[in-house]
Symmetry: C2
Amino acid sequence: MPEPPPPRLDEIDAHLLDLLQHDSGRTLHELGEQVGLSPSAVQRRIARYRRDGLITRQVAVLDPHLFGPTVLATVLVTLARESFEHHRAFAGRMRADPQVQQCYRVAGPWDYVVVLAARSTRDCGRLGDRLFKADDNVQRYETLVVFDTVKTGLTLPLPALPQDGRS
Amino acid sequence: MPEPPPPRLDEIDAHLLDLLQHDSGRTLHELGEQVGLSPSAVQRRIARYRRDGLITRQVAVLDPHLFGPTVLATVLVTLARESFEHHRAFAGRMRADPQVQQCYRVAGPWDYVVVLAARSTRDCGRLGDRLFKADDNVQRYETLVVFDTVKTGLTLPLPALPQDGRS
DNA sequence: CCCGCGACGCAATAATCTTGCATGCCCGAA
DNA sequence: TTCGGGCATGCAAGATTATTGCGTCGCGGG
């Protein structure tokens, strides 16, 4: 596998990436103003980020209440057997299910942390049944129903920004 | 508070929103092709989503390995005192910290689930100290270091799509 | 049956993005 | 120190894409 050495990002790159990860809807002109660069220079940098895979993708974040209420839950999971194959199978099912927002394999007594999005408490229950109870390799799982989303996002901390300064 | 009754979304809306939440980089022309509408019709619908707040924002998702390795962790937190004020203070600190990706208030013995992004294991430890150990209202917390990100995203399940069909 | 509302497609216009080109800076080699 | 290559930039076209005006159509209420 090609392990690209840190592609060398200067302060402007950091600033740009930070702006983009908070709002990628701005025009090149606007961005250029923020970081002190011409639109074309900004465009070339962003093209590079994309080419190098620094920007994975660009998505629209939807309001969870789109279709009426939505119930989120985080689930802690422990598998019974830990073979490579079992993990692969579990991960595959998580990836395949559109109701699974996130899935992390973690250290400690729990093997996975899963974030689910369901349409109702009942749906959430059924989803748990389907994903975990029906899997006889899931030894134990615990559902933490979300009361309130304090903060959400996939934003990464970027080093050494003069100061925050979202607009 | 204005509680807008489900703003009535037809099948095309669902399809469009689903396309957008997976990749908002496409052109109106492309989108129109997918859903069987002209670019201008697509544009008008998307403008409406924005106006109605169905689309919260548009963001670029960055590669976590941007600046060298990144350590993710999920943290389970229980507060000592549960007054309204204490919760507000805790939530505020979570929102304010750029290293906190997500924070959910949950049901059960744990009060919060927090997702952190750090630059190293050490950084992660210090972050935990700063956010939770230093807060004398945090009764107990448990850090689940992420070994592997199986899946990530904020994608919501959209009902009744003919069939998946990402391109 | 008529009217008004809302959504559509098409076409013109406006805005944004992309690219070619010349310049300036930095750095390594002579 | 001086020369030359590589690289990023700004500017100014040129190409794409987004936005808007307009006429039409289908639907539901009067």
